[in-house]
Symmetry: C2
Subunit: 641 residues, 2 copies
């Protein structure tokens, strides 16, 4: 352990960003030609000048008759001018003999070439056609006067040959694709995408789709998929490499073989002492180690260097740390190399609902969620069109939790010297993308299948199943739009009841052997392992109350004190044979084909935030809860109250 790397001199985050921005990651060649059909979303590499006039000829702008404007002088509804019809001309036809002289007209369709001699069009609606004996139109009465060029689009009026049509750096949308099509460009010079290699390291990593050995501490590889997706979003062509374990030699070899094919190579993990040594020696042998350690939380163990002509960034292994370092330090460099304009500054000022505390010393990136509601101060000002301050709350489940990001809408950057931000303070939230919208409804509380069914029926809700106690506490702080409250907590949620249902609860037991555990008393003093839920859940509170009423000491039940997180977790322990009984719902026991010992029913209530009775999400929720019986019909042991 003597050579364990420490981070005595952490780089300033801005210096780290600059070091990454200076890496040689621009693709070579920097321009590629793509077919017009694939050009949308790409960045134009060069200026496009019109190579042709658009249109390439004087064009009739509407259906009607081409004539000499001078012939229509004085014509009106009461006193039309009669002209002889000398031809017909459709779009895509050469005029041929259709030529217009004084006193003559040619029938012309929209988009056709103006026949020689004509200088204006009269719309068909202002024409009376006069048929000859053969039935063909021989003459027309023109009921309006027109000026020269009227209803004619001159050659080059859209774009003239030689004009600058699009500038370098233009992001191609369907509108620019249309313009390029009009110019006849079938192949478009766009900025090439930098090739970014993505490689996760760690002996514990298993690709998604393969089974995990929990006992050996295996987990799925998160970074490979999420960093690859984020790099693509920033404009990279992503090259995935197989997960390397931490073995220093293997890791070094992976880097050596990947670097020549990439403009930028990203690893994640490999922060153990041996792996870091290997990284150092490869970087020093084949390139350069520029920086190790950044004064950013999360993100301290970040490495920056070069491997030959390939840029290198070693991201932390924790998914949240890796993603935040990527977003903050790496994505801007990829966008620059891909020629992408900076994304629109997607940040909002928001009022923090709950306090946040920090260990000072490193700049801190705090994930936060937004709610579609506004601060009291703003509401009081009473100006609905004014500058409203949205509300936000910290989402800090730790760098090891993917939900730290999936529950958040953006990041707040907290300076290194700040240790506390009080509720009510205004913070700047950098949204994860300009398209981010706050959830339509934020629900926090009991992990309950009925609540999940209600959420499924809403558009874009966010449901944090952190337990009844968390729902009640955070409703008090004004965070959720609605709390999901199971049972009767000692300190109850304050707010209107929006909906309620009853759920049957009890013990999940092995199928076919209900006699082993028929009541909770059977567990007390026995060796039978019990699987419990964490305190904070409404079910756990109900079980605590039941033991209390029965005078049973929880300590006499094996495993009672180890609370599991999900409402199904105890039943799953029964399923795997790790527990003889588990606290849970009839719905879960039946779904998992377990036996069930019923203890009774418990009421689950949706309690609204009293300050948000007129929020849009609340009325949507009301619409959904009106059909509660239907939503709960497929869940055993559930009944709308």
């Amino acid at each position: 352990m003597s050579d364990r790397k420490t981070f005595r001199d952490l780089a300033d985050p801005d210096a780290a960003a600059a070091a990454i921005a200076d890496l040689p990651i621009a693709p070579e060649p920097p321009v590629e030609a793509v077919p017009l059909d694939d050009a949308a979303g790409r960045i134009l590499a060069e200026r496009i000048d019109a190579g042709i006039d658009v249109p390439g000829f004087d064009r009739a702008s509407l259906d009607g008759y081409a004539l000499r404007a001078g012939d229509t002088a004085g014509a009106d509804e009461a006193d039309p001018v009669r002209l002889e019809v000398v031809g017909t001309l459709h779009a895509g036809e050469a005029p041929g003999a259709a030529e217009v002289d004084d006193g003559e007209a040619v029938e012309v369709s929209t988009g056709a070439v103006m026949p020689p001699g004509a200088d204006a069009m009269v719309p068909i609606e202002r024409i009376d056609e006069i048929a000859s004996e053969s039935g063909a139109v021989s003459d027309v009465d023109v009921r309006t006067a027109v000026a020269p060029r009227e209803n004619v689009m001159p050659a080059g009026a859209d774009l003239a040959a030689g004009q600058r049509a699009l500038g370098p750096g233009t992001r191609l949308t369907p509108r620019e694709v249309g313009l390029l099509a009009a110019l006849g460009e079938e192949s478009v010079p766009v900025r090439a995408r930098p090739t970014v290699g993505v490689l996760s390291t760690g002996a514990e990593l298993v690709p998604p789709g393969e089974p995990l050995d929990h006992d050996s501490g295996q987990i799925h590889d998160v970074n490979a998929a999420s960093i690859a997706a984020a790099a693509r979003e920033a404009g990279a062509d992503v090259q995935r490499y197989s997960t390397a374990d931490d073995d220093p030699e293997a890791l070094a070899e992976s880097l050596r073989s990947a670097a020549p094919a990439c403009d930028l190579l990203l690893t994640s993990g490999s922060t153990s002492a041996g792996a870091v040594d290997a990284l150092h020696s490869v970087l020093e042998a084949e390139g350069e180690l520029l920086l190790h350690g950044v004064a950013l939380k999360p993100g301290k163990p970040t490495l920056v260097g070069r491997l030959g002509d390939c840029g290198y960034v070693g991201l932390p292994g924790y998914p949240v740390s890796a993603m935040m370092v990527f977003r903050t330090l790496v994505a801007p460099a990829i966008r620059e190399a891909a020629g992408r304009p900076e994304p629109e500054r997607a940040s909002v000022e928001a009022e923090l609902l709950e306090e946040a505390r920090f260990e000072p010393g490193r700049r801190r990136l705090l994930p936060v969620g937004l709610v579609e509601a506004w601060s009291d101060a703003t509401t009081a000002a009473g100006d609905p069109d004014g500058d409203r301050t949205p509300l936000t709350y910290p989402v800090d489940r730790g760098s090891g939790a993917t939900t730290s990001l999936s529950r958040a809408d953006g990041l707040v950057t907290v300076p290194a010297e700040t240790s506390y931000v009080a509720p009510g303070e205004r913070v700047t939230v950098e949204l994860f993308s300009p398209a981010v919208r706050p959830p339509s409804l934020l629900a926090i509380g009991e992990d309950d299948p009925g609540a999940a069914a209600v959420m499924d029926a809403l558009d874009r809700p966010r449901y944090l199943p952190d337990g009844t106690a968390a729902g009640v506490r955070r409703l008090r702080a004004g965070v959720p739009d609605v709390a999901v409250v199971a049972g009767e907590p000692r300190r109850d949620a304050e707010g209107p009841e929006i909906a309620a249902w009853e759920r049957e609860w009890g013990l999940a037991v092995p199928a076919g052997t209900p006699e082993d555990v028929a009541t909770i008393e059977d567990l007390a003093g026995s060796d039978l392992p019990f699987a419990n839920l964490a305190s904070g859940s409404g079910l756990r509170a109900a079980l605590d109350d039941r033991l209390d009423a029965a005078g049973i000491d929880p300590a006499t039940i094996e495993g009672y004190g180890v609370g599991l997180r999900g409402h199904e977790s105890p039943a799953r322990r029964v399923l795997t044979g790790d527990a003889a009984a588990g606290l849970g719902l009839r719905a879960t026991a039946e779904r998992l084909d377990l036996g069930f010992v019923p203890f009774g029913t418990q009421r689950v209530r949706l309690i609204g935030n009293p300050d948000r009775s007129d929020a849009a999400g609340r009325s949507a929720l009301q619409g959904v809860t009106d059909r509660l019986p239907e939503l709960l019909a497929s869940i055993s042991g559930y009944e709308a109250a």
Copy 2:
């Protein structure tokens, strides 16, 4: 012409949108499974519940020693507790014999399984390792007390098995991809994309990349590319069909064969009488014609119907009309069928700088551009953080011009009964997408290669080369940030001169035969065809002045009155042999390898909008014009002034 279709009963635009929304265009089956790597950007079709606990075991959150929290009671820097080291455990390893009893500790890496018997981790930074004689660590001094569970992430703390992880309808970003990876989902059920067939019709259409016969009125097919790109953006899988000509039988056959493979078939064009008849009869024979004609401008000749199980919309042929009808009426239905949430309402309130006049009767969609500046009223209020009103101007180059859209940033919807909107009125601009940003600088004026070079050096400028007269006039209305002014217009632009250069102008003549036309006098009274620029250009004004000074009647010069649009257009007429001489620049003549008769030099000036001296674009422009000599170096006959 007697059966020409007229639009007596135009459908209300909202009724048309509803009819399209009701078309049966949802894909069947509505769900498809995609690999996790392809899931970013897709819409989750079903709720995803956690199938496993994440993490699947109690996990060490940092590098250090696992021990029993009780053993650390009272430990601090001054009075550490000594424990015996009984093993080492890395991430991805099963604990095996590494078990912790009272007085013992196991060295554990971040991410490893907590060894049995241990309930907390002490970070390595708070540990002193004591080596035995063999050099291995035999004991540790623990310099801090920890609580049970400290620095341990319990199984399921991120997500517990059975918890609702993601709801149906969630748009998958890299963050959700990470969550799905953590859950081990390698295949993700997402909303299937509706298959949208795109087919342009018109005998005059030629695909981009193929040559045009201008004399026959051929133009490039714009809609196929732009509507396909827009449909993809809305969430469709696009199927392109070859351009059909208007021949009714061929058109009918194209529709019949395409419909079974599509959820929605879009045609554009085919509004000629015969083609419309063919559409009507196919729709009536194989499905239903629901609607023909919409009270929308542009967009009147829109058709809505069904072809068997396939929805059908016939878009107008003009690119701008087709794109606006698509955006307004069709895209919402595709998004709905693709399960895409409505895009964020991307609209801004803006103050109109120039008047807009309308023929009343149809709801009008007016393309507008934005400038990165704010109204006087707002500036006067003096609150830079307040609710600033951006400025906007109409971009109406006609439905036939692709530049009507590529020059615009969004649309203003004008009610059918409105005939006039005055300068200074506030309008709501629906941006083409939430990512749209106003150009960093708006320049209007002379079509000049020097100005184009300046624009190329800026990030996201918009340059409308509509002539000096347009630049001066619109600067007076306060529209551009800068006017490009060539020569000395009678009514000059008012504002600070930001930069200026001289350009050499004269006549482009055929190469090698300069003696035919050595001066402008040679053209007067001759039969030699001359190619001129449109009035409004600074070059044309200079030529008018020169003739005036020489006492030459412009009418004696063949073709003098027909003004072309682009600064290169006259020279190109000389190149093709259609003119004996053309007004233009030395730069153009040399580039096109033509001869050149010099008349002198003309000054081109960039005149700033006096109200926007502190706009960001202006200082960027100043930075660019500081290196004007370098930018103009490659343009013949140009010199910085």
